[in-house]
């Protein structure tokens, strides 16, 4: 039985209750406490908050790379605290797509190889794209094309040869490949100018609708907040 088949469809995409996370044992070290946080299925949520408020820490907890000392973290119905390290890595590979702020492609791979990368770590994502390498390749090309990347030339270029805007779109394609149920984006538009930012968000939401994913995005930009279903102000739900 795969992890995906275990996921309960009625459960929220993310549910955090009484989460308490500390960096280190010292009393001076950063601490993030969240009483309650919920992200529904197919919901888009923008997480805002000042620098140092713990936004990246929260994303790390949801992705399973950071383990809170207390509380319950449920992602797609699965309780992360009950999983071992390896199981959490596999769960993330199978169910979550992540977009970083910038420089988030492997520079020595081509654009299309970067998009295909998650399929090497997740059999369920691979099966979702198709059984053969050709089907996976075709799915990656489709995603890149939808996001406005020329599959004949740009897709074969190395990541370092792409513009920042192109890199972000390739990163989005990589996050969406294999139809993950949850997309986590950490300030993906901060390095883009306004026009490209808007086009990028259009494509991001288009893909989200097509794949039926939930989207949790961190941003400093209040002007883009209106495009999201819900807004979470981190300093209102947490005690740091």
């Amino acid at each position: 039985m795969t992890v995906i088949s275990q996921i309960k469809s009625e459960s929220p995409a993310v549910l955090l209750s009484n989460t308490d996370f500390r960096w280190g044992a010292s009393t001076d070290s950063f601490r993030l406490r969240i009483d309650h946080f919920r992200l529904e299925r197919e919901e888009s949520n923008i997480l805002v908050g000042p620098s140092g408020s713990g936004k990246s820490t929260l994303l790390g907890i949801i992705c399973g790379t950071l383990k809170p000392q207390e509380g319950e973290t449920r992602v797609l119905g699965q309780r992360l605290e009950e999983m071992g390290d390896l199981a959490r890595d596999r769960f993330r590979a199978d169910n979550i797509g992540i977009i970083f702020q910038q420089f988030n492609l492997l520079p020595y791979l081509s654009a299309i190889d970067n998009v295909l990368l998650p399929l090497n770590f997740s059999m369920s994502k691979k099966h979702a794209c198709g059984l053969t390498q050709a089907e996976c390749y075709s799915e990656a090309e489709k995603l890149l094309e939808t996001l406005g990347i020329d599959i004949k030339s740009t897709a074969k270029q190395k990541a370092v040869e792409l513009s920042i805007g192109q890199q972000q779109r390739v990163a989005a394609a990589r996050a969406f490949i294999g139809f993950p149920k949850l997309i986590i984006a950490d300030e993906p538009t901060s390095s883009l100018d306004e026009e490209i930012q808007s086009a990028f968000l259009d494509q991001l939401f288009l893909q989200k609708e097509k794949t039926g994913s939930s989207l949790l995005m961190v941003s400093h930009n209040p002007r883009i907040a209106e495009r999201f279903d819900t807004i979470t102000e981190l300093d209102k739900i947490s005690h740091t």
Partner: protein, 421 residues
Amino acid sequence: MIILRLAFKSVINRKFTTLLTIFSIAVSVVLILGVEKVRTGARASFTNTISGTDLIVGSRSGGIQLLLYSIFHIGDATANITWKTVEDIRKRKEVDWVVPIALGDSHRGYRVVGTSRDYFSKFRYRRNIKLGFTEGHAFQDLFDTVIGAEIAKTLGYKVGDKIILAHGTGPVSLNKEHGDTPFRVSGILASSATPVDRAVLVSMEAIEAIHVGWETGDFQKDKVAQSPQILRKMKLNPKAATALYVGLKSRMQTFSLQRWINSYPEEAILGILPGVAFGQLWALIGNVEKVLFLISAMVVFTAILGMVISILASLNERRREMAILRAMGASPIEIFTLLAAEAATIAVFGVILGFVAVYGAILLVQPFIESLTGLYIEISTPGWREFLTIAAILGASVLAGILPAIRAYLTSLSDGLMIKF
């Protein structure tokens, strides 16, 4: 598999630093294998100075001393062997052939070796190679001489040239010349990278001839110098030899004949097995090879250290790369494997390059090394020592690669997915 593919692509991506690191490992491999090749080559050249001779016989002294004067023409014998003893040995049923040599004279600093014509057919070097002539032939006339390749080259002699031998082997200025009996160069030997290249070969009878009137060690004033024509008519049976090269019908009899020789009652003589004496002599000078090996090992250590430093230095700039892989679902163990595989890839490429370079270089420069130094480095399939050395370098590199891999493992754990610089 993806991790190995990524490791390979990552290594290729950082071409410049990777190439430098690969090059430094290759240089260390070239050095350590090169030293090993030169060492085995030197040893083989040394021990193969003579082959096919089962026993060397001389007056009783030390085995190494006998080897030094009989083969390398270094130093002198304490005494000669009488011709009766030579004949007694020759008559033994185990003996196939005996080649006598007589030392004591020189020509412009090069040793004169009196011997029989059998020398040219029985003396073998390296792997049973016979002496060859580049010009001329073996001595036929009493006053014919055959000279080694180095003498011909250094002194510019050719066939037909006349040379004068000198009595004694000390400094050239102190020797007294056998000026009445000049020798004609009848042949020049091909280079064999052995002491024969530096020998002036004459017949045993010629040694007797030039010493007529020199019985006391100096020319006796009351005697009349004999002309070569008269000497040619004289009966010149050799009276003694400095040493003998002995070939046996069967090698199984070597030890029994050696025992017989060493307990020969009529004269104090000694028989040695060349291989054993070579081994004893090499053991005396073999410490040099240990020093060479130690220096090479230090170079290997430095190259591996360089590789570790280069990977460690790149770790900080690659934290995002590791975070991306973690986001894709790579576990810290896979990140560890990636870094360890990178180190292994670099080491493998370095070792392969070094291996190819050392054999390529030997192929290219072997003839030059041989003509310049007389050192014959055999091109053979790599032996277990080479494979062991390479395996040790690879093993050490992989072990050393664990250090940055552990660092990457810990970094990926603490960084998680979100890297803030």
